[in-house]
C-alpha cells in the first residue's frame, strides 16, 4: 500500500462555500421530503413505520421461520432477511470452494486444467449474472429429470422440482448434544486463551485432542443420555418426495448461479495470490528439507491468505449484494419481499430505508468481521 498523499492544499478562507454547499444540499433534501409528504398526504397515505405491525396478507415461496400470511409486515421482512442470509451463506461456501479449486487448477501442473480454468474465468467474467441465472433456470427446468426419475445419489435426490436430502429429526434430548458441543468449544477456547497468555507452544497430540473435543463430547452425550438419533430420509411416495430436507429448484439455481459467477472471480483472486508468492520461497523451503505439504502449509498458505483477504472481502460483500437478483426467479429474499410490500402498502420511502439499511448492515458486518480477521493475521505476522 502506498501511503495516502496529503490532498492538494486548498485556499484557506471563510467557509462560506462550505455553508452554501451544505445549505444547498439541505434545501434540496428538504424540498424532496416536503414533496414526498405532500404527495403522500394527497394520496391519503400517512408516513411512518406503523404499517409494520399490520397484517402482510401475502405468502412467500419458502421460509426458514414459521410464517403465515396473517403475520405482520415486520415478520415477513424478517422472513426475507433470513432467506437472504441463508442464501448468502450457502453461496459464500459454494463460491469459495469453486473459486479455490479453480484457482489451484489454474496454476496447477496440468496444462489442460489450466486452459479449462482460464476459459471458465473468462466466460463468467463477460456474462451478466442475471442472464446466467435465467439460462441456468431454463436449463434446470427443462434439463433435469421429472421427480419420479430423479437423479439419486444414495439418499440425495435431484429433480426439476427440488433437491431432497436426509436430515436429522430434532427432538427434546438433542439439546444435550448441542450443550456438549458448546462445552467442547468453550474448553477449546479457554485452553487456547491460557496458552496464548503463557505463550507456550503445545504438542501436536494435545492440539488434536482439543480440536476433537467439540465433536467427541456430543457423541459421548448421545451415548450417555441415549439421545435418539432419527434421520428423516426423503422417499418417493406418491408424487413427490416425503420426509427429509428440501431445497426448492429456485434456491438451488440461484445458489448455483452465484456460486459459479463469484467462483470465477474468486478463482482469479486465488490465482493472483498464488502467483504473488515468489518461486524462490518454495525452493528455499525444499532446500531446508521441508516436504511439499509442509512448504505449502507453513510457507505458502499463510502468505496467500494474507494477500487474498482484502479482495475476498470485496467478493463476499458483492456476493451478499448480488443475492438480490433472486427476485428475478421468485425466491422470497429481502429484495423481493420488500418489492411486494411496496406494491401493497404504498410505503416506498419507508420500505427502501429499511431494505437498504438491512443490506448495509449485512455488508458492514461482513467487512468488520473480515477486517478483524485480517488484523489478527497481520498481528501474528509482526509478533
Amino acid at each position: 500500500m502506498i501511503p495516502p498523499s496529503p490532498p492538494p492544499p486548498a485556499e484557506k478562507r471563510l467557509h462560506l462555500s462550505d455553508i452554501a454547499a451544505v445549505g444547498g444540499l439541505a434545501l434540496v433534501l428538504a424540498l424532496a421530503v416536503f414533496n414526498v409528504l405532500a404527495n403522500m398526504e394527497a394520496a391519503g397515505v400517512s408516513p411512518g413505520f406503523g404499517f409494520l405491525v399490520r397484517e402482510a396478507g401475502f405468502d412467500v415461496s419458502s421460509s426458514l421461520i414459521p410464517y403465515a400470511p396473517s403475520d405482520s409486515y415486520a415478520r415477513v421482512i424478517l422472513v426475507g432477511l433470513a432467506n437472504t442470509v441463508f442464501l448468502a451463506a450457502v453461496c459464500l461456501v459454494l463460491a469459495t470452494v469453486i473459486g479455490v479449486v479453480f484457482g489451484l487448477v489454474s496454476v496447477g501442473p496440468s496444462p489442460i486444467g489450466r486452459a479449462l480454468a482460464l476459459a471458465y474465468v473468462e466466460v463468467f467474467r463477460n456474462l451478466p449474472k442475471l442472464l446466467v441465472l435465467l439460462i441456468l433456470f431454463v436449463l434446470a427446468v427443462n434439463g433435469l429429470p421429472h421427480v419420479r426419475e430423479a437423479i439419486s445419489v444414495g439418499p440425495f435426490h435431484l429433480s426439476n422440482r427440488s433437491v431432497n436430502f436426509p436430515v436429522v429429526v430434532s427432538n427434546q434430548r438433542m439439546w444435550f448434544a448441542v450443550a456438549a458441543a458448546v462445552v467442547g468449544l468453550g474448553i477449546g477456547f479457554l485452553w487456547r486463551a491460557r496458552h496464548k497468555l503463557a505463550d507456550r507452544r503445545s504438542g501436536a497430540a494435545e492440539t488434536a485432542a482439543i480440536n476433537l473435543l467439540p465433536i467427541a463430547l456430543p457423541l459421548l452425550a448421545i451415548l450417555v443420555f441415549q439421545v435418539p438419533v432419527t434421520v428423516s430420509v426423503p422417499e418417493l411416495k406418491g408424487f413427490d418426495f416425503q420426509g427429509g430436507g428440501r431445497l426448492s429448484l429456485q434456491f438451488v439455481v440461484i445458489a448455483a448461479t452465484l456460486g459459479i459467477y463469484h467462483g470465477a472471480q474468486i478463482a482469479e483472486v486465488v490465482r493472483g495470490g498464488l502467483l504473488a508468492i515468489p518461486k524462490g520461497q518454495t525452493e528455499a523451503a525444499k532446500a531446508l528439507g521441508l516436504t511439499p505439504w509442509q512448504s505449502i502449509r507453513l510457507i505458502v498458505l499463510p502468505q496467500v491468505i494474507r494477500i487474498v483477504i482484502p479482495p475476498m472481502n470485496n467478493q463476499y460483500v458483492n456476493l451478499v449484494k448480488n443475492t438480490s437478483i433472486a427476485i428475478a426467479v421468485g425466491y422470497s429474499d429481502l429484495m423481493s419481499v420488500s418489492g411486494t410490500i411496496i406494491n401493497q402498502s404504498f410505503k416506498p420511502l419507508e420500505m427502501m430505508l429499511i431494505t437498504m439499511g438491512l443490506y448495509l448492515a449485512l455488508c458492514l458486518g461482513l467487512t468488520t468481521t473480515f477486517n478483524r480477521f485480517h488484523r489478527r493475521l497481520t498481528r501474528r505476522e509482526t509478533r
Binding site: P9, P109, S110, K321, L349, M352, Y359
Partner: protein, 356 residues
C-alpha cells in the same frame, strides 16, 4: 505451423502427465472439456434445425432452432419499436457502439488521436443524436414513446449515457471527499459513496422507480426510463469515485505541492495537474467498474424496462415458440460476451500500459 502445433502438443502432454497428480488432473479436466464440447456440438450442430429448414422441425429435436432466431431476431434487438422505423434504433445502436470503441481506443492511445475537448464534443453530439433518433418528434421524424425503446438501443443508452453522466459526478464526489477545507462536505461525500457501495444496485433502482417520482412536485412526472437513468447515474458515480480516489491516493504528494508553489489555484492545480494523472492511474480499475456497470444494466428488467433480456423473454412469450427460451438467451449471452470481452481486452491493455 503444423510443426509448432505438434511440438506444443507434445510438450503439453509431457507436462500434463509428468506426475500422478498432473495426470489425474489432466484426465479429469480433459474429460470435463470433452463432455462440455460434446453437449455443445450436439446442441449447436448435430441436432440443430438449420435456417432453411421448416420451423416445425424444431418440435422434433432439442437442438438449436435457427428458424426461431431468424423469425425473432428483430424482436429481440428492437422489441416493440415500430417495425418500419427500426432503421433508427439500429443507427443509434451502431453509433453508440462506435462511440464506445472510439473512447476505448483513446484510452489505450490508439488512433485516431483526439484531445479531451474533441472527444467530449463527439460524446455530446452522439448522445444528443441518439435521443433525437430514438424519440423523434423533430425534423419530420415520427415520434416514438420511450415505452417502445426496447432491446439493444435501450441497453446501450442506459449503460453509455449513465456512465457518461456518472463519471463527472464521480470526479466531483472524489474531490469533495479528499479535500480538507470543508470537512462537512467531505463527510457527506464519503458517507454517500460508502452507503451506495454497501447496498445492491436493485435497491437503488427501486428508489429511482418508486421514491424518485414521489419527491417531485405535484403535476411533474418522470418516465420510468428517465427514472432508471437517474438511479443508474447516482449508483455508478460512487463506484467511479472510489476508483478515482484510488488513483488520487497513489499520486505522489509532490504533484499538488509543486503545482501550488507554481502559483496555481486549487482548481487550476486539480484540473491541470492532479486529476489527469489520477484518472490515468485509475483507468484499469475504472474499466473494471465500467464492465460491471454495463453487465448490471441488464438488471433494469426487474423494474420494467425492456432491455435485451426482456425482449428475449418476449420472443418466447409467443405461445408458438414457447420452447425456445435457450436460443433467445444464448443470443443475448453472445452479445454480452463479445462486447465485454472487447472491454476486458482494453482493460488488460491498460494494465500492461500502466505496468510498463
Amino acid at each position: 505451423m503444423n510443426f509448432t502445433f505438434a511440438a506444443h502438443l507434445r510438450t503439453g502432454l509431457r507436462e500434463g502427465f509428468s506426475s500422478p497428480l498432473a495426470a489425474a488432473l489432466s484426465l479429469l479436466t480433459g474429460g470435463l472439456i470433452v463432455a462440455i464440447a460434446w453437449v455443445s456440438i450436439r446442441w449447436l450442430l448435430l441436432e440443430a434445425v438449420w435456417p432453411w429448414q421448416e420451423a416445425d422441425a424444431c418440435r422434433e429435436t432439442t437442438g438449436l432452432c435457427w428458424p426461431f432466431l431468424t423469425e425473432k431476431v428483430r424482436l429481440i434487438l428492437f422489441g416493440t419499436y415500430p417495425f418500419d422505423l427500426q432503421a433508427r434504433p439500429a443507427a443509434v445502436s451502431v453509433m453508440l457502439c462506435l462511440l464506445a470503441v472510439l473512447t476505448c481506443r483513446q484510452m489505450v492511445g490508439k488512433p485516431p488521436r483526439l484531445n479531451a475537448g474533441q472527444l467530449a464534443a463527439i460524446w455530446v453530439l452522439v448522445i444528443g443524436l441518439s435521443f433525437v433518433l430514438m424519440g423523434g418528434g423533430v425534423f419530420g421524424l415520427q415520434a416514438v414513446d420511450p415505452v417502445r425503446w426496447n432491446g439493444l438501443p435501450i441497453l446501450l443508452i442506459l449503460s453509455i449515457v449513465a456512465v457518461a453522466l456518472a463519471f463527472p459526478l464521480g470526479v466531483l464526489l472524489t474531490l469533495a471527499r479528499v479535500q480538507t477545507s470543508h470537512p462537512i462536505l467531505a463527510l457527506l461525500a464519503s458517507s454517500y459513496v460508502e452507503i451506495t457501495r454497501g447496498v445492491p444496485m436493485l435497491t437503488v433502482l427501486f428508489v429511482g422507480i418508486f421514491v424518485l417520482p414521489l419527491t417531485l412536485p405535484a403535476g411533474v412526472s418522470i418516465s420510468p426510463v428517465m427514472a432508471t437513468l437517474v438511479a443508474l447515474v447516482f449508483f455508478h458515480a460512487s463506484y467511479f469515485a472510489e476508483d478515482i480516489r484510488g488513483g488520487l491516493l497513489s499520486l505522489p504528494a509532490g504533484q499538488g505541492e509543486a503545482a501550488n508553489s507554481l502559483g496555481m489555484t486549487y482548481w487550476q492545480a486539480t484540473r491541470l495537474v492532479v486529476l489527469p494523472q489520477a484518472i490515468r492511474r485509475s483507468l484499469p480499475s475504472l474499466v473494471n467498474s465500467l464492465i460491471g456497470a454495463y453487465k448490471d444494466t441488464s438488471l433494469v428488467v426487474v423494474v420494467g424496462i425492456h432491455d435485451l433480456t426482456a425482449t428475449a423473454r418476449m420472443s418466447f412469450g409467443d405461445p408458438e415458440w414457447r420452447d425456445n427460451a435457450l436460443e433467445a438467451y444464448v443470443l443475448v449471452g453472445l452479445w454480452f460476451f463479445l462486447s465485454c470481452a472487447y472491454l476486458s481486452g482494453i482493460g488488460r491493455q491498460l494494465h500492461r500500459n500502466s505496468a510498463s
